[in-house]
Amino acid sequence: MNTPNDVRLMLLESATRLFSEQVNDKVLAAAKRDGWSASLWQTLEQAQLPLVSIPEEAGGAGGTLSDAAAVLRVAGRHTAPVPLAETGMLAGWMLAASGLTVPPGALAVAPALDADRVVARRRSGAWQLSGTLARVPWARIASRLVVLAEGPDGAIVACVDPARCRITPHANLAGEPRDEVALEGVAAEAAAPAGAGVDRDTLRLRGALSRSLLLAGALERALELAVEYAQQRVQFGRKIGQFQAIQQELARFGGESAVAVASALSAAGVMERGGDALLAVASAKIRTADAAREGALIAHQVHGAIGVTNEYALHHVTLRLWAWREEFGNEAHWAMRLARRTQQQGADAFWPTLTAA
């Protein structure tokens, strides 16, 4: 058997309870306007959920990457409008792995795009950062921005105050902040050479993993909404869930949702154990993004016209599905990366690679 351990179960239970109590249509509508939910964030911080998987000595809550993954799936299921993934799995990881203390508050992380770069220079004993970041998740609401910068002798992890950066607000399809950030010689509040395993490639893998987990959770929510609707909505004198045409679509959706959860959580486990992270994370991001495409449209189809309105809850989920699938590399990006490696290794290595421990 392979059931979650007791620590994981307790964590899941408290995360589920907290998100169920704190996230509702009102909170989501307000977040669409404000960019996030500050009160939800406070509650999450009190429960120590943002820093799961960050060692306690770095200011974290302890636990494994798979624990953090389990929490992110639940956050996705509730479309929690907070930088949970960025604070722990991305920024918190970079800081802790580089020997820095994780500051309190919500954290943003950069660079999120392949093309963005930030240069770090030493000026009279302090690190100064310069560069333009086209799209930084949550920058304008974060209390600190954690940057993986290029220093003169290698990568530097630095923590800066977003108030000292020039921020131009932008948003993803769901209205979550995805801001342009310009750093013009901003002094780092804390900085250190990037620790072991902290590099842009791994940051990108972790970013993609985080989005896979959020997508998997959001797909479960979209499926729940579609199923509830099919159980209630009456047309032609019957509940629409009694029509085989609807049943077959929901069944397909069930498969997409299940495989999304399976791949995202599996990828977290592989990464935690130091396995083939490219294979696992690329697969998870490709598969969850594929499932998001299929699932979002089936959810809307089942709902009919009501699903596309601003007052019905479905759009909070589907807008995020459409936004998150692009972030940290979409299906095509990861498919090509994976296939290029397959080509280099050759056909005879394909099966051994797929089945390597």
Partner: protein, 396 residues
């Protein structure tokens, strides 16, 4: 919803399974090098010699108790052997049914006599079984079978017709689902399972040629065939429950998503090191689909594993992953087809079954057999109805 209480992040093959994989790989490499079998895709090939060689290595019935010829190994180890066989299109039809369906059924429901008589022989690769389920009037609706067994002194007399019985012309015996009591209104009652020796008087096997001219299907006529009491599987009248109890493992294994996998390997070979973005995107996507399906399949095998302390070696009865298995089969069989179409569209050629080139032959074989996987073992539509019922509950 699905896979409740399954921890995907912890799924990992144990070192014993990895060691076993190396052994199986080395064996298959030697077989291939010696030209011991010609790999074909589409139909699972029947090769009694290959099956005996597999049996001699302890790779049939490997999860069964030792006293019945098994190795008491884990479901994950069996999983590894199965996927290694599929990866090289090894001819497994002579032991497939015995290993996957007959053995587990006999272990769970069979008498000591049946277990002692058949399990060690199946495990040695010396006894092949077929499955007598479908009938001319009974395909997806299996409970409507009309083959009847009448009580006689010392046993039963069976009359009826089975169809689509794969490899019945080469197997030694088959499992027959039949009606042993009149239909009382509850269609799932009054059904029983019998082992019928295919050499029994009154049994006639007639081939049904597949559209490519090859023969694996048969129709089997049973004309007043005597079946002694000791060949009754489980309890008379409990046939339906027995047939459906092992579905989770049957529907979720690698054979539900890997039957065209060797074509993907050959596609990668044919594409070579220099490919365009379109080919890369396709290959990467198929890789991701395979990886994700395999994780679900592994999760089911692991969850059903009875554990080392199990006496019986049968799947954990407390775990109900039947719907999840249906999901794996539904998605797996569609994935198998995606490989075919991706290949067609990336490499322009007219497929030829006679080609001496393995890639071209595989493509032809998989195209012609593509309709099979979504029909056998539960059609897509039946599976989806099952999945929807789990999601929606009983709507009134």
């Amino acid at each position: 919803m699905f896979f409740e209480n399954v921890d995907f992040s912890a799924i990992e093959l144990p070192p014993t399974a990895l060691k076993l994989r190396e052994e199986v790989r080395a064996f298959l490499t030697a077989e291939t090098a010696a030209g011991a079998f010609t790999p074909h895709l589409g139909h699972s090939e029947f090769d009694a010699g290959f099956t005996r060689r597999i049996g001699a290595r302890g790779w049939i019935g490997m999860t069964w108790p030792r006293r019945y010829g098994g190795q008491e190994r884990s479901y994950l180890e069996r999983f590894v052997v199965t996927e290694e066989m599929l990866a090289v299109a090894a001819p497994c039809a002579a032991h497939w049914f015995g290993d996957r369906q007959i053995g587990p059924s006999l272990l769970r429901h069979g008498s000591d006599y049946l277990k002692e008589r058949f399990l060690p022989a199946i495990a040695r690769g010396e006894c092949s079984f077929a499955l007598g389920m479908s009938e001319p009037g009974s395909g997806s609706d299996l409970a409507s079978v009309r083959t009847r067994a009448e009580r006689v002194a010392g046993g039963w007399r069976v009359t009826g017709q089975k169809v689509w019985t794969s490899w019945a012309h080469k197997a030694h015996a088959f499992f027959v689902l039949c009606r042993t009591a009149p239909d009382t209104g509850n269609r799932h009652e009054g059904l029983s399972q019998l082992v019928v020796d295919l050499k029994s008087p009154g049994v006639t096997v007639r081939p049904i040629a597949f559209m490519d001219g090859r023969q694996s299907f048969n129709e089997v006529f049973l004309d007043d065939v005597f079946v002694p009491d000791e060949l009754v599987v489980g309890e008379i009248g409990q046939g339906w429950k027995q047939v459906t109890s092992e579905l989770a493992l049957e529907r979720s294994g690698p054979e539900r998503y890997m039957t065209t996998f060797p074509l993907l390997v050959e596609l990668i070979r044919r594409l070579g090191p220099e490919t365009d973005a379109r080919a890369q995107e396709t290959v990467g996507r198929l890789t991701a689909r395979f990886w994700s399906l395999r994780r679900m399949s592994l999760a089911i095998a692991l969850a059903l594993d009875p554990g080392a302390d199990s006496e019986a070696g049968t799947a954990r009865a407390s775990v109900d992953l039947g719907t999840e298995a249906a999901l794996v089969k539904d998605m797996g069989t569609f994935f198998e087809r995606e490989i075919i179409d991706a290949t067609r569209l990336l490499v322009e050629l007219e497929p030829s079954a006679e080609s001496s080139d393995r890639f071209e032959r595989y493509l032809a074989e998989t195209i012609v057999c593509a309709p099979l996987s979504t029909v056998r073992g539960g059609t897509t539509q039946v599976l989806r109805t099952l999945i929807a019922r789990r999601l929606l509950g009983a709507l009134k």
